[in-house]
Subunit: 209 residues, 2 copies
């Protein structure tokens, strides 16, 4: 719930985040946000003139979390493609695991408002060209000569993100329904993805020495 020691504005944002994430922009009610922030509705409008501005604020806060992590990863110097992929996969899965709601929230907004989200990414310091280049210059004996670097990039992202979106299906249908089992699934997820990718593109399962 909402920390009672924070300022009113922080309480509002925290409450709004909870509600917006769970119900989406259209499904959320200003009344519910006010209740959860333990203030009244009028005060919401005092701090953020209307629902749309409040939503935008919350979205930008949440999305900047993702962007910062990406920027951190993309600006880390790595000695090899393998090292970069390891960095990417482990950090990404870790972040999402800590804040699983992010994925759904961003994806929903992505489809309501594609230009806005794409704009955010483009105006960040993230440069996917860097990895595409890294992948492209792998030695000729590697499997990467058969694969399009962009598809490889998409493959890696897919495997990191998708399980969090399909959580209920994985939990109920592939596993046997318990939360603990899904957590165990996540415990080994990064390792499994990494092994899968290494087998596909380096033909072995060894990290670069």
């Amino acid at each position: 719930m909402v920390n009672i020691y924070s300022t009113t504005e922080e309480k509002i944002i925290a409450a709004a985040r909870e509600v917006f994430i769970q119900k989406g922009m259209d499904g959320s009610r200003m009344q519910e946000i006010a209740d959860r922030a333990e203030i009244n509705k009028a005060l919401l409008h005092y701090y953020f003139r209307n629902k749309d501005k409040l939503f935008t604020k919350v979205f930008e806060d949440v999305f900047s979390n993702v962007l910062e992590m990406f920027e951190r990863i993309f600006s880390t110097e790595t000695e090899s493609l393998d090292a970069f992929i390891e960095l990417f996969v482990t950090n990404y899965i870790n972040l999402i695991r800590q804040k699983p709601f992010i994925v759904q929230f961003v994806l929903h907004e992505l489809n309501q408002n594609p230009e806005r989200v794409a704009g955010f990414i483009k105006s960040s310091k993230i440069d996917p060209g860097k990895i595409i280049a890294l992948i492209s210059k792998e030695p000729e004996n590697s499997a990467l000569q058969l694969l399009d670097p962009i598809h490889v990039m998409v493959n890696i992202m897919s495997m990191c993100i998708f399980p969090f979106l399909a959580r209920p299906i994985i939990k109920e249908v592939l596993l046997s329904g318990s939360d603990e089992e899904f957590e165990s699934f996540l415990d080994i997820r990064a390792g499994q993805v990494l092994a899968f990718v290494r087998l596909a593109i380096f033909n072995n399962n060894n990290p670069t020495p």
Copy 2:
């Protein structure tokens, strides 16, 4: 748009599907559905007592599309794991490409109403155990001894579905923004996923003879 030769009920469902898919349950207006079906609002309530019942009807129709395809795939006898994966990947990507809206729609409902969707799947003839078993009994020299079959299954599904969810990001950030380029991306997607999976689990890129 809506076929003028269909019955009123069909027109309503077609119109409702368009609107619900684009705006979600909460974002949709009965008025817009009525306009698009070229009838008036009262008639909506005559055929489907309320918005919720109409939504449920539309969702069940759409979701049964996916289920039928899965059931078809899962009941096809294949001679090898490789053949099964090829069947799965190509059919799945094909279906989604024809009806890209399905993914987002199902995923949204999945998170609003996890039990319902999981229930649908469970009560279908789909048995993921069959593939898990197929994967598990691969020869000992295969890479599959290193990988958890469930994760392999999730990997394959992720790579098929995710691109349709992240479409705007792939289009704007990884490609250079044109729809044609995204379509070309999709043209080779099934082949790329298949090659990636084969490299990972069979150590080569050859279909079973």
